[in-house]
Symmetry: C2
Subunit: 369 residues, 2 copies
């Protein structure tokens, strides 16, 4: 089967749902840790199960380059390759192509994107068909359509052309998609232009994808513009399909997006800041490089149920971070991912009890960044 | 209490023993993983328990510099600081002082060693008293005497002077040692000179330490010279005390040393080679960077019971190593430490059944490096 989404209940626009896949089911809203190269940096699959991760994301671009989709297919697909027994979503590779390649080094044509490999500078071409072909071989549970991700800001004229091209690319990808066990999501673009978001959304939904993503956020726009993009993009999406906001992992942004009807999120933020010594807490992010934590022998966050907080102190983790011992980033990654997944657990509980807005306001009041 | 050693039985000179500490007991021969900065690189304490690690080593020099022995004392000692619930041995700091500082940057005097910090170049002085004071505060289960570790080769005259100084340093350290829960080991030196080994050994044993280490090996000498150093050093050690060979982790060397009566070993080898993609197997070391493993979807070693071999393939671990993902080094560290600890488990079983030499010869026949 592909995936099945069931909307359990609404609390205003916030949604409590359930997604069934061939690798088990999970509840939404849900945060997805990012496993760029078929590994969520420094963590084992068991550690991901333990933090309550329902689904992880892997990057098509990186896996295409190394070890290559054919190698992963020979291993029996991405689940077997990385020994991850829960659902996996793969992105289209588009975001990496647009962000890793410098402007001079990429050429966007109707066919696809010509660019240079960030590894060896070799010339590469990623097309909608190629992206889907790679993802079919990776055999993830959810594949994403290949879209153009324009910088911010661009002119209305550019964005109009880009939206049309993304629609044509979505159709081409859908036409070649042929993995019966893999869902395929469409991506809504349109930048901050409300009518283009409406246009992109309606045309994408007409193609009837298994779920929809709101693209083009977190590219440098203000929070207000981002929330407006979500509002503008989401209103024309069907209620019986999953809504995915790409690249968002800030706790406040997750709350704002859930309020607007988003179901799933992904972001490298919790693992990236962990490697630099930063940890989420209910009162905001803390930086363990700070000398005041040197002899602080309390957990990163009192009351947190993660492995790091149950077993280690700020002082010890600070020592690991400042001496560049990898256990430090690993423990903070566990904590930060658990923090976001626990946030979504509490969000689900609040929606179930029709008190999401109350929960959101209480959380934001304590959380200072 | 300090530690208690019980010799269970001999198989020729090979010894099966048991060590009791305040943090539990373990059997010997035993390999100790090295936790340089209060962390066995990339591994959690739980992973160390799972590979069957009886005791780990931590480096006094590194912990003196960062975070400092007073910080660890405030945390409640090293066990609490790193949350390790089994025994810990600390070295004296001497080896690091002698190996990290360049020749021009250290000055060995009767008082101790003046040298420059490898971190910031500041002037430091490590003395026998200071080493013991730091180790007392770290509150490890076993502390080591501060010795001079001369390079190889040196003249007989230099070695004679060095052995005498090491004896005076051992006495000074023993005089200031005042942690009733911590054992203190003496170190036998003397290089490749048989009479100096005998002299060092007899004089050190006269001081009545809780255990003895054979020092000055693995400094560039040939295998034959190293085995002779062990023979020369061990013959005058009491049978009712633990014998520790420092810095040895090659499987063949462990077997040769056990045959000569050594009980415990430590080495950074299993974790260091792991980070570079190398794994121990019964037929010798393999290097997963080798392209022939790219699509090898079998475990690092068939029949190995470690977490890495039960869950992941050579192809996946190779992918992690070549893309510099830290999970790769972590999985190979687990495998390599488990390999050495399993080797000591099998050695103990063989001694118990009076077939150690047979076991050793069978192992060496298969193991090619």
């Amino acid at each position: 089967m592909k995936i099945e989404y069931k909307l359990i209940k609404n609390d205003n626009k916030a949604r409590l749902g359930k997604i069934k896949t061939n690798y088990g089911e999970y509840d939404t809203p849900m945060f997805m840790p990012v496993g760029t190269r078929a590994t969520v940096k420094s963590l084992s699959p068991d550690e991901l199960y333990e933090v309550g991760s329902g689904i992880v994301l892997a990057n098509t671009y990186h896996l295409w380059l190394r070890p290559g989709e054919d190698t992963i297919k020979k291993a029996g697909g991405l689940h077997k390759f990385m020994n991850y027994k829960r659902p996996i979503l793969t992105d289209s590779g588009g975001f990496q192509v647009f962000s890793l390649a410098k402007n001079k080094e990429k050429d966007i044509t109707e066919e696809g994107v010509h660019f240079k490999s960030h590894l060896d500078g070799s010339n590469l071409l990623l097309t909608p068909e190629k992206s889907i072909e790679i993802q079919n071989k990776l055999d993830s549970d959810i594949a994403m359509s290949f879209d153009e991700c324009p910088p911010y800001p661009v002119s209305y004229e550019y964005m109009k052309k880009s939206v049309d091209r993304t629609l044509r690319w979505a159709k081409r990808g859908k036409d070649v998609h042929n993995n019966p066990n893999q869902a395929l999501f469409g991506i809504v673009q349109g930048g901050e232009f409300r009518d283009l978001r409406e246009y992109s959304c309606k045309k994408t939904v007409e193609m009837d994808f298994d779920g929809y993503s709101i693209g083009g956020t977190s590219v440098g726009e203000s929070k207000e513009v981002m929330y407006k993009m979500i509002d503008d993009g989401i209103r024309y999406l069907p209620v019986d399909k999953v809504r995915y906001l790409m690249g968002v992992g800030d706790p406040i942004d997750i709350l704002e997006a859930v309020e607007r009807g988003v179901d799933i999120f992904d972001c490298v933020l919790p693992t990236r800041i962990a490697r630099h010594g930063q940890a989420f807490t209910r009162s905001g992010k803390i930086n363990l490089n700070n000398a005041r934590f040197k002899e602080d022998f309390t957990p990163v966050e009192e009351g947190c149920d993660c492995y790091a907080c149950r077993n280690f102190t700020k002082g010890y983790i600070r020592h690991l971070i400042t001496t560049k011992e990898t256990l430090g980033g690993r423990l903070l990654s566990i904590h930060n991912i658990r923090f976001l997944i626990r946030l979504t657990e509490e969000i689900r509980e609040a929606i179930r009890e029709d008190r999401f807005l109350e929960y959101k306001n209480e959380f934001i009041e304590k959380y200072k960044n």
